[in-house]
Symmetry: C2
Subunit: 229 residues, 2 copies
Amino acid sequence: MLSTTEENYLKALLQLTFEQEDKAEAGTNELAAQLGVKPATANDMLKKLREKQLIHYEKYGKSSLTAEGKKRAVEVVRKHRLWETFLYEHLGFTWDEVHEVAEQLEHIQSPKLIDRLDQLLNYPSFDPHGDVIPTASGEMKIPAKKTLNEEQVGHQCKMVGVKDNSATFLQYVDKVGLRMNQPIKVLSRQPYDELIEIEVNGLKSSVSPRFAENIVIVCNDCEIRMKSI
Amino acid sequence: MLSTTEENYLKALLQLTFEQEDKAEAGTNELAAQLGVKPATANDMLKKLREKQLIHYEKYGKSSLTAEGKKRAVEVVRKHRLWETFLYEHLGFTWDEVHEVAEQLEHIQSPKLIDRLDQLLNYPSFDPHGDVIPTASGEMKIPAKKTLNEEQVGHQCKMVGVKDNSATFLQYVDKVGLRMNQPIKVLSRQPYDELIEIEVNGLKSSVSPRFAENIVIVCNDCEIRMKSI
DNA sequence: TACAAATGTTAGACTAATCTAACAAAAATA
DNA sequence: TATTTTTGTTAGATTAGTCTAACATTTGTA
């Protein structure tokens, strides 16, 4: 059984090596910064986690998760995101309030609790921030990226980037009410002029195809490919 | 902010001095036994909690909670029992499974979480074991004790004691399936012979008034008096 | 009441997680 | 390439919570 602290180190390492970018290793200082501890502290823990065969680490080298370490880290992330979803959907927390409490709840040890929570929430694939919730077997469903104009009517998606970085475009994006990771619903597409009607945070707008093809989105409802971790 | 350990000591002291019997103090060995630690360990913590003005304690004397300590302990009990109720009612845990997980969940720090959970559960007064859940203001609704023959038809109650301690009677109690603290439902009362039909753990039985007046119960549905703590 | 048993305390040690300060290695750059 | 900067490590100290072993006090009883 891992301590809360050990779990946090594994989670931080996962976030640095897997989720943020696709570099496979993280440095000691970097990890320490992520966790809000001093490098000396992180260094001790790295040695301890290597002893437990949860990470790969060599003196003066970068660190990465072993298969077992990755599995444990993914379990923590899964719990975190399921709790966030529960707090948001069943207890009326706002999306910015859920994280802090989920940081505590993610360390509760009870496989049955997490299974049942997953069931209660109807096996969600995304948390309130739009992040992917790993399945019980540790797989992550990664939604394919596309642009807003390719999205089907009736589907939900979220913006994860833009193709045009001009000030004019970005100001327009802002005016329409689009924010990174905020859910977007595609309401309709006018046959006459191809205008796309969307709803963001309760606010409805119509955007042109020209605009829409510069908004990179991930679709929550579309076919997804599994990323085994 | 109290540590998980400190909270556990306060809760244990509450259980020893308030819930089990009505003696107002507990000894160091007794407290240590309750928590599964050695007396030396408990002794250190007693000094620490006295420093924080959460308990009354003097060298070689018994310990008891201060007003502030009692308040903190009741909060922990409240959280424990609300979580038990949630696990039982919303996640389909059996009543014997809830305790272990609630021991972990009771230490989650988030007033909002507990308020919302209370609301979700519709402000319950009893947990799945039939124990009283303190209110948000720290009051406990104490159900009045009476005997089974005084209970109304349709009400739920639980056995908390017996008046007759003879072997004959106790064996009969056992045969009917009655256990301490197990929910009993009063199904009907025959007008002809006054036999009381009850249901315990799915098992239906009929008992005589003579039998019923020797079973001490608390009624979950009846009027209750508030015990401010 | 005196002694034995029960209860409670102290001292010293251990582990986990943290820190600071000094030092070592690797990387960047002049 | 030599030097500076960044990065990483080690040593030693600290805090919380625990232990064992020895000692002290209180309680109960012969």
